[in-house]
């Protein structure tokens, strides 16, 4: 491990996670974007096609597509295939609501953080090890 960088942002949900980053500068939606029963990314128009969200820390700018994303998030988490955390430039309310409801309906706290003091898409590379603290709104990047 090399040096670490800490970023401060806004917590959409609380919780604490560590894991490997999966980064894209493309918008991402969970409806038709993830197969909830496997965690496999199924969006034919996304560069993440074929990868798996399970245990990953997803870093992408903003949501897209159907407003039913909240349900796909809930089902993915119900099936135990949720990401470890989510980091956005701005968290779209459909995605924010999905993770807020995961705590209420399934007791799962998955931290979601946005509005960081630096652009996470530029700073974080796929494969970086991240520590995401949704209680404090802090993302720590452990550079390889």
């Amino acid at each position: 491990m090399g040096k670490s960088i800490a970023l401060q942002g806004r917590s959409i949900t609380r919780g604490y996670a560590e894991g490997e980053a999966l980064v894209s500068n493309q918008f991402f939606g969970f409806t038709h974007g993830v197969e909830p029963t496997t965690g496999r990314i199924a969006d034919e128009r996304h560069e993440w096609l074929g990868k798996n969200v399970n245990g990953k820390i997803l870093v992408f700018p903003y949501g897209k597509s159907s407003s039913s994303g909240g349900l796909f998030i809930l089902e993915m988490i119900r099936c135990g295939n949720g990401p470890a955390a989510v980091i956005n430039v701005e968290t779209e309310p459909v995605i924010g609501a999905g993770f807020i409801m995961a705590k209420i309906f399934y007791g799962k706290e998955i931290p979601v953080i946005d509005r960081l003091n630096k652009n996470p898409i530029e700073l974080i590379k796929t494969g970086d090890h991240l520590i995401v603290d949704g209680n404090k709104g802090v993302v720590e990047i452990m550079k390889k």
């Binding site: 939606g29 974007g33 199924a42 349900l71 089902e75 309906f105």
Partner: protein, 420 residues
Amino acid sequence: MDLTDYEKRMLDGEEGEAKRMSMEILYALGNVYGASRMVPIQSAHVLAVYPHLEASPEIMEKFAKAGGRFAVPTTVDPGHNEKNFDKWKEFPEPEHLKQNSIRLAKAVETMECIPNWSCTPYYQGNLPRKGAYISWAESSAISFANSVLGARTNRTTIGVDIAAAITGRTPYFGLLLEESRYANARVVIEKQPSSMYDYNILGYIIGKNLSDRIPAIEGLPESTTANDLKVLGAAAASRGVVPLYHAIGITPEAKSREITYGGKKPKVELKIGTKEISEAESDINTYASGNLDAILVGCPHPTIGEIAELTCLINGRKVKKGMKFCLFISADVLHLAELMGFRRKIEDSGVDIFTGDCILFCPVASWGWKNIVTNSAKYANLLPSDPTYFKVLFTDLKGCVELGTKKGGIHGQKHSSPRS
């Protein structure tokens, strides 16, 4: 967030468990997104869909069993359930999916939804005025309510939609605020649209390029109809995140450039001409080769005008052997189609009518389709991905009829060969 006494009582559980759960969701959402307060809503539109996701009936039943009842007029999106569907022989469905669909419909009707089962609730009497606060789900209906009607809703997702309908409240943030509704991107139309196909393509291009923006379209013709805007909005909202757009001189919050952009200069400009349109046409088509399995028409749900056009195009033609031609339609429009004699002509041609339904919620995995044809850019956007994985050929309604049917039957053309 400041809550009224009644809202506090809901949050504290003094108004029952369903209102408490609902207020917990809305309060958490409102706090995160900086809402200063809740506002009363005039109507809701909710989803009772995705029977293949167990969480879907599970959550709906949690609300219903906790005593949830909708506090405001609440319409419901299409659903593939036994109230709407009776073609189990031709379109078989795994039993557990059927059961989940029945559970969803029962729970949402227990909570006293208006059972319109359509993605066009504004055509079924859920018609908010300009400026009204509402809480709607369904990306195409959200776009229509915000853009064409000038009502105000955020993109409300599943769960939050039910919570808002039960409490009659929504947190005051995002698109509910006047200052969040000004356009910040300019779309210049260089080639005027003249058909629903053209409006679909325009929406696709806007959704692809201006997601997360509020576009103002300059140059739409005076002949633009509400229904043209329905498909434009549906295409944009399913290709990207476009819950609100304006069309200067056409939509209610876009009387002038000054008003539309809130006195500011738009930061982004998108020109749409012949080049952009042909790029979009090649981008939207994912079909390469192989048999075409089905024609899918009716997304968003059509008006009686669209059904008249379909009847005209069919004109005695018969659906090709080995092909399914599915029409998705709301019950009220189907009723008009029956009164006007269209229904019989459409059914005689071999078209399968799916009332109050949508292919997105059908158990297509067991139907074995690979390649489909549609006149809906929204279907073209969503069907190539999970759970359908169709390859899509996008065309206009005429193209759908030509690819899906052949001459024959009642007019006795030379090559007539009635469907067997």
